[in-house]
Every structure is written in structure tokens, then in C-alpha cells.
């Protein structure tokens, strides 16, 4: 995997970023009379024109159901839908399109794996290994699975800089560990975890690994075969695609071993009231009419990202991260939460004497969208002893000038509160 700090030395010219910005219609609007500064990309990214037009084209020209029509439209839609699967496969470097299951998003992907692990592998006496920086959606499904099976959760702690505490690495994995579920990039801290090393270590003990890649795929090159993880989950809408479409990558033998997650149409080969034969993978896990337009829109998004080049996007975002960190840190009273050595373009921070919620409101009136709250990572907030943070998260279309506007808004808040 490319070292993100090395990328920071590459500069993407201003005019290139300006051309990227021009691809996103929403960036041209104003909010409260001011040009929109969208810095909530970890929540969802904006959509390039090509994605919007792909959705419109599908619904205006090709709309039909997949895998069942003998007519032209359905054949076209099916081809595009399956083509999207192959695009995802290539984008993350998976071995086969049959290992790509379309789901609603990261959350559903993790629920699918947790549900199936509960039915096949988990039992009392076994442990599910998580980390303290997991998003609630990589905690709660495992709690449900644990409740159901009697398995227990064990948590890898974090350090004050927001890195995984791996100094007793050899004690992490035991014969009781049934699975490791770990976030690739933390949504509240920005930390890029050493997942490749963790996966290698876990596999030495024969322990499968699920990686929550929701915050990773848009910001760093991911190659599944290099990582060698058993499961990888991500959402389309965080990588410039539509909402409601996501991906579960799973090694084929898991998909073969797992029972179906949901029952319905498309996941079956034949049904009688006595017995149902399930469809082959990955269709066994895609019950009901899938999000066809979403998958095709995701394909357009991934192709768009590829056309720009993830290495260049990452280089640009690393520069934004460095600039934002430096500028925010220079304001007295600002504390950056999450100072790991390897970070993606997420800056969580607090301002002394000002609650993040108030900061969010003041930034909003300046046309700046930032996220304030616990970011669905309450255990992280508890660790740092804070109820919430403000979070600016950058995408390919953000600029240093936008960071200047955020900094000015923070200063305005300080002035308003202390003035």
C-alpha cells in the first residue's frame, strides 16, 4: 500500500483541482448567500455530473428489472448491472466478480457477515475481536451476534494519538478468537490502520478478518488480493456514487459456506413449499430486486475516480490535511483529536469553551458544512473524555481556500463567544 505521507510531496496543480470541482454541480450553489464549502465528505461525498447523468440515463432509457426479462431493456439493464460488479471487482483488485455482493451500504455488509457468522461459526466461549475506534455499525451487529450465540466481544484499545495499541500483539489472537473486525480508516480520527499487517498476523492463527473500508476506498488505493482480507465492506455514496448501494467483498469460500442472509426472489434457483434451492454466489445474497440504478451509478463513480487517479486524489487530500491541521492548530484553544502518523483527510477538533454544536451552527451560517457530534463512535469520544468533536473531512474537490474559510469561521465563533 502506498504510504500516504510520501504522497504529500506530490502537488496537484490548482487548475487541475479547479477542473475537478467543475465536475460537481452542487459545488456551484450558495448557502445563506455564500459559496458552499462542503467539508462533510466522511458522511457522504458529492456526486460528479457523470454519476447524476448515468442515473438519469438509466431511468429515462433503460429502466427495467434484471436477471429475468427476455426483452431488450432487461437484457441491457442486466448487462450494465453485471458490468458494475466487474468494475467494483477491478477497482478493489478482487479475484472474481462472484466475490462482489451488492448491498445497501457498509452497514448492511457488516450485518450480513455478522448474521452469517452467528449462524455458522460463533458460539459461547469464542470471542469477536474489535477495536475501540470502530464505528457503531461495526460494533452493534457483533453485539447482536454475540447476544444470539453467547460469544463475547473483546476490544483492542487505542493510544492518545488515536492509533491502535498493538504493543501486546501476540496476546491479541488466541484459540478463542473467532474473527477480527477492524476499520481501515477511522471516521472520527482519520487514522489509517495497519490492516495488512493485522490480517497477516490474524491469518497465522487461522482467524478471518473483516475490514470496514467505508472511509478508505475514496481516499487510498485498496487492493483486496494484496490485503488478503476475508471480508471488505464499503458504501457507494462515500466514493462519489449514489446512496443505497454498497459492496460486500467476501472470499468465495465464505460465500459458499454461508447460508443466505435474506430470502426472496433472485436468490433462488427453484422454490417449492417443501424445499428451496439457492442460487449460486453472489446471487444467493442478493434477495429481491437490487438497487440496479445505484450499482450502475456506482460504476460511473468508480470509473470517474479511476480517470482522475486515486494516487493523485490521495496526494491532493494529504496536502489539504497537512494545511488544515497546521492552520487549525495555530488557533489558540483548538485541540486536534486524532494525531496518528498515518491519517486520511479527516480532522476532528475541539475549541476550548465552545461546544462543537455551536461551532457547527456558526460555520453553517458561513456556508460551511462540517459534522459535529460523536460521529457514531461514542467509545472514541469516551476515550478522549469529550462528548463530541467538530470534524472537517476533505475530498478531491476541496481547496486550501475553503480551509481558510473554515479557519475564519472558527475564529468568528471564538470572537462571538469570548467577545
Amino acid at each position: 500500500m502506498t504510504n500516504p505521507s510520501l504522497l504529500a510531496s506530490v502537488t496537484v496543480p490548482e487548475e487541475v483541482v479547479a477542473a475537478w470541482r467543475a465536475d460537481f454541480p452542487i459545488l456551484h450553489r450558495t448557502v445563506y448567500g455564500k459559496p458552499l464549502v462542503y467539508l462533510d465528505n466522511a458522511a457522504t461525498t458529492q456526486k460528479p455530473r457523470v454519476v447524476i447523468e448515468t442515473l438519469q440515463h438509466f431511468y429515462s432509457e433503460l429502466n427495467s428489472n434484471v436477471h429475468r426479462g427476455v426483452y431488450y431493456l432487461s437484457e441491457q439493464a442486466t448487462e450494465l448491472y453485471e458490468d458494475a460488479r466487474r468494475t467494483v471487482q477491478r477497482f478493489i483488485g478482487a479475484a472474481s466478480p462472484q466475490e462482489i455482493v451488492f448491498v445497501r451500504g457498509t452497514t448492511e455488509a457488516i450485518n450480513l457477515v455478522a448474521h452469517c457468522m452467528a449462524r455458522t461459526r460463533l458460539r459461547a466461549g469464542l470471542e469477536i475481536l474489535l477495536t475501540q475506534m470502530e464505528h457503531h455499525s461495526n460494533i452493534v451487529p457483533w453485539q447482536l451476534a454475540a447476544e444470539q450465540t453467547g460469544a463475547r466481544l473483546r476490544v483492542i484499545p487505542i493510544t492518545a494519538s488515536g492509533e491502535l495499541k498493538l504493543d501486546h500483539e501476540d496476546e491479541l489472537f488466541t484459540e478463542r478468537t473467532a474473527l477480527l473486525a477492524v476499520v481501515h480508516v477511522s471516521n472520527s480520527l482519520g487514522t489509517i490502520n495497519p490492516v495488512r499487517e493485522l490480517i497477516g498476523k490474524a491469518h497465522e492463527y487461522g482467524i478471518p478478518v473483516l475490514v470496514d473500508g467505508a472511509q478508505a476506498v475514496a481516499h487510498l488505493p485498496v487492493n483486496i488480493q494484496e490485503l488478503d482480507c476475508d471480508f471488505y465492506a464499503f458504501s457507494g455514496h462515500k466514493v462519489y456514487g449514489p446512496t443505497g448501494i454498497g459492496v460486500l467483498y467476501a472470499k468465495r469460500y465464505w460465500l459458499e459456506e454461508f447460508p443466505p442472509y435474506q430470502g426472496g426472489g433472485d436468490m433462488i434457483r427453484s422454490v417449492t413449499f417443501e424445499r428451496t434451492l439457492y442460487n449460486e454466489v453472489p446471487y444467493k445474497f442478493e434477495a429481491g430486486t437490487p438497487n440496479i440504478a445505484g450499482a450502475i451509478g456506482l460504476k460511473a463513480a468508480l470509473e470517474y475516480v479511476q480517470s482522475l487517479g486515486l494516487e493523485r486524489i490521495a496526494a491532493h487530500e494529504q496536502q489539504l490535511l497537512a494545511y488544515a491541521t497546521e492552520q487549525l492548530e495555530s488557533i489558540p484553544g483548538v485541540r486536534i483529536i486524532g494525531t496518528a502518523r498515518h491519517k486520511a483527510s479527516i480532522v476532528s477538533f475541539t475549541v476550548e469553551g465552545i461546544h462543537p454544536h455551536d461551532l457547527g451552527t456558526i460555520a453553517d451560517r458561513e456556508g460551511i458544512a462540517i459534522r459535529v457530534g460523536h460521529h457514531c463512535t461514542q467509545p472514541v469520544m469516551d476515550f478522549f473524555g469529550i462528548p463530541a468533536t467538530a470534524r472537517a473531512s476533505f475530498a478531491l474537490y476541496n481547496t486550501p481556500e475553503e480551509i481558510d474559510r473554515l479557519v475564519a469561521a472558527v475564529q468568528k465563533a471564538i470572537e462571538l463567544f469570548r467577545g
Partner: protein, 147 residues
């Protein structure tokens, strides 16, 4: 900036920095906990009610300027009031922050929160303390939420 100054009035910031009636009330007869799941704010309101009148009130918790100042102002306004009077104030406050009642011509503390109406996502912050007061008055045993 005008709307922001309207929202973050000096009186609100002042109550945020120096909350009144803040702390624990061991001799409380009624108490309730309020929670705003949106921002994670939590606060506890404790009352001592004697012969139908709020003789003592304290609140505890942490949160944004709006929720803390609102709770602080609330304690100063309902102290000494009867339960029915406190309920009526709750209702009036709700109407003010949602724009259903125009600010009073005579400036009073409740009207300081009229600016909240321009910030719909912050109404729940403003009402947290009042909702919690109501829960305490009605002795709802569970944590109330603003949802």
C-alpha cells in the same frame, strides 16, 4: 452575522459561562434525566416540591451554549412557581422557540431564545432543559429524549 448575534445573545452566553442553580440537589423530591441523541447532550433536573410549589431546583450536565443557557434560565424562572405555572412556562417557551408566539414587547428572559426559531436544528437544544423539567414534574422515571 445578525441572526447569529440574535441566537447567541449576551444574556445566553452569560448563562452558558455562569450557569445558575448548577449542581446536585440531594434533597430533591422529583428528578429526571434528559438526552438529546443528536448531539449527545445529557442533563439532569432535580426539584424539591413542597405543597405543589418548586422550592428548589438544580440542573447538571454538559452541552452546547443553547441547551446549557436554556436550562440555566429555566431554573431561575420556575423556582418558586407552582407546578401548574411551571407547566405553563414550558408551553410558552416551546411556542417562542418554534415561532408560534411572537416575542413579547416587554423584554423577558424567555424572549432571549426567540432567535432559535431561525435555526430549526437547534430547537431541540433549547427545549432539552424544559422537556426534562416537565419529565421531572410528571415524575417520568425513564430518561426522556428530545426525539
Amino acid at each position: 452575522m445578525e441572526e447569529l448575534r440574535e441566537l447567541y445573545q449576551q444574556i445566553i452566553l452569560e448563562h452558558y459561562r455562569n450557569p445558575r442553580n448548577f449542581g446536585e440537589l440531594p434533597e430533591a423530591t422529583h428528578r429526571a434525566e434528559g438526552h438529546n441523541p443528536l448531539c449527545g447532550d445529557r442533563l439532569e433536573v432535580a426539584l424539591r416540591i413542597e405543597e405543589g410549589r418548586i422550592t428548589e431546583i438544580r440542573f447538571r450536565g454538559s452541552g452546547c451554549a443553547i441547551s446549557q443557557a436554556s436550562a440555566s434560565v429555566m431554573t431561575t424562572l420556575v423556582k418558586g412557581k407552582t407546578m401548574a405555572e411551571a407547566e405553563a412556562l414550558c408551553e410558552r417557551f416551546q411556542r417562542i422557540v418554534t415561532g408560534k408566539e411572537p416575542p413579547n414587547s416587554e423584554l423577558d428572559l424567555l424572549d432571549a431564545f426567540a432567535g432559535v426559531r431561525e435555526f430549526p436544528s437547534r430547537v431541540k437544544c433549547a427545549t432539552l432543559g424544559w422537556h426534562t423539567l416537565r419529565a421531572a414534574l410528571q415524575q417520568v422515571p425513564e430518561t426522556v429524549t428530545t426525539e
